[in-house]
């Protein structure tokens, strides 16, 4: 047992007190979990995805349980940029942990505008670009499904802000490494891997899809092996910082992602199962590092024994 390990981590120029964030869309705007767990202990809060204008999202039902996970089609319900800055950010500013704003748009221009507007906003520590949204100008394929389109979004955002920028990749591609390679040419600060996997469930008895939007995104422990593989492959291929996400529910899961190559992790759906999941990940990770006499969590990054 060594003394308390250094939990600080770097994702490009974003510095976090500890490598554990909560994932976009699973933690609202933070205040929802105030009092239910120690929000202040988090490395960072990633907000629900923000668009330029408010959106009402998809028809109900929007969530369904699946084996070891869930699918959601929340869609893009959010208060819009103004609503966020006016009503949600003030509370977040009071919290000592970092605030990462997840952004999404229908066009490259919208992403750029969001980045430009948020660039000047105090209390926003970084942006995470969600490119798993349909590209309205190009037939509805998501921005993240084509390396060059993904790169263009990353470049547009990078051009508008000096704040740290993470780009969050979709696993619904033939080669996530190719998308990663294209995106990092935009000199962003890091990649978040992964968003949800395209999925669907049908009520066998009634034949009704369990989601109002018919298809949705699979998350939770079920997808962990897919996410670990994505992190591992991208870490081998790309010179960039990686934030691992997908099915993390315990500190052991976090260690697995860090060893695969992640400099930080995000706890997503597991918060629904138990609100303090992320805090337990932090405590457990600290304990593990100390147990293996590792003085800094950064030392563990990529430590896979092949």
């Amino acid at each position: 047992m060594s003394p308390t390990p250094d939990m600080t981590t770097h994702i490009g120029k974003l510095v976090l007190d500890n490598p554990v964030m909560v994932a976009s869309g699973t933690f609202g705007f933070g205040e929802e979990y105030d009092g239910l767990m120690d929000v202040r202990a988090l490395g960072a809060i990633v907000t629900k995805g923000i668009s330029l204008e408010p959106r009402v999202g998809n028809p109900a039902p929007r969530t369904a349980e699946t084996p070891c996970g869930m699918i959601n089609s929340v869609g893009l319900q959010n208060p819009g940029l103004r609503g966020f800055v006016e009503h949600k950010l003030p509370w977040l500013k009071e919290v000592p942990c970092k605030v990462v704003v997840n952004i999404l748009g229908d066009t490259v221009e919208e992403y750029a505008t969001l980045a430009r507007e948020l660039d000047g906003v105090p209390g926003v520590d970084a942006m995470e670009v969600n490119i798993s949204c349909p590209n309205v100008e190009h037939g509805g394929m998501t921005f993240g499904s084509d390396p060059q389109t993904a790169r263009r979004v990353a470049e547009a955002v990078r051009a508008e802000t000096d704040k740290p920028v993470l780009v969050k990749l979709s696993p619904n591609v033939t080669s996530i490494v190719q998308v990663a390679e294209a995106v990092i040419t935009a000199e962003i600060d890091g990649l978040t891997l992964i968003n949800t996997i395209s999925a669907m469930a049908i009520d066998y008895a009634t034949g009704k899809p369990l989601l109002g939007a018919i298809t949705g995104g699979l998350s939770g422990p079920a997808i962990k092996p897919v996410a670990v593989r994505a992190v591992f492959e991208v870490a081998r291929a790309c010179e960039t910082s990686i934030v691992g996400c997908g099915g993390i529910a315990s500190w052991q899961d976090a260690v697995e992602f860090i060893r695969a190559g992640a400099s930080a992790v995000q706890v997503g759906s597991a918060t629904f199962r138990s609100p303090s999941s992320a805090v337990r990940v932090i405590d457990g990770l600290r304990g593990f590092l100390s147990h293996i006499d590792c003085s800094s969590c950064r030392e563990l990054v990529g430590k896979v024994n092949i």
Binding site: G25, T26, F27, G28, E31, E32, Y33, D34, G35, L36, M37, K48, V56, G57, P59, A60, P61, R62, T63, A64, E65, T66, P67, C68, G69, M70, N72, V74, Q77, N78, G220, P221, A222, A249, S269, T271, F272, R273, S274, P275, S276
Partner: protein
Amino acid sequence: MATAHNITAELKQVRHFGKDLVLLRLFAPSVALAATPGQFVMLGPLDPRCMDPFLCRPISIFGVTDEGELDLLIAAAGRGTRMISAWTEGLRVELTGPLGHGFESDTKNLLLVGGGVGVAPLVFLADTQLAKGRKCTLLYGAARSEMMVDLQKLQDRGCLVKLATDDGSVGHHGLVTDLLSKHLSASHSHDTLVAACGPSPMLKEVWRNCSEHGVDLQVSLENRMACGTGACMGCSLLISGKALRVCKQGPVFSGGEVFQ
């Protein structure tokens, strides 16, 4: 919001009614003390050793005791509630609550309409209103008598309870809304609030009756929930043109909001 807690609570008592209904008593003072009628808890993980089932289950608060206990009435509907029904005394379970926005009542007369396990929040509401010296009538419907919880205690405290069953095994042979329409037609209904919880068709029929008689209505809605805390936007319904989160802005809404 700031009053909700995420705790581990011991299961003090498990009482079965028929084969599909179970009343759990948990020692959960922080939750019990903060709870108001119409609020709910997220119960789970259902099996902490397993990630399947993954999510918690939203369960209304049936009642609280002065000793800080929390009563939950659960109908074994699907896999999750069947697992809960098999829980035994002494088990320690995680729960988060009290959550959501409950009933708001400052009327003298309360008319409660509960369908099936939807009676749960109404029993808690009756309990607190009786304590304030108000008059309560509970119309309680279910498929069969053996799917009903015993409400003797509530009756002892002065609540008028009328039953309806689909098969006529107890009370009125028919729908609980038959009782309601009779009741509303018979009695002067000014300064009366109707509070209802149950299946959607029942709620709609309750609304029809209430609007016909010009009586205020509050309904507790259900929707699938992932977080229960307002964070995931998963339980939103379009209510009066706005995407409202049932877990946060509800589960109790005014009838007008929902049905107009």
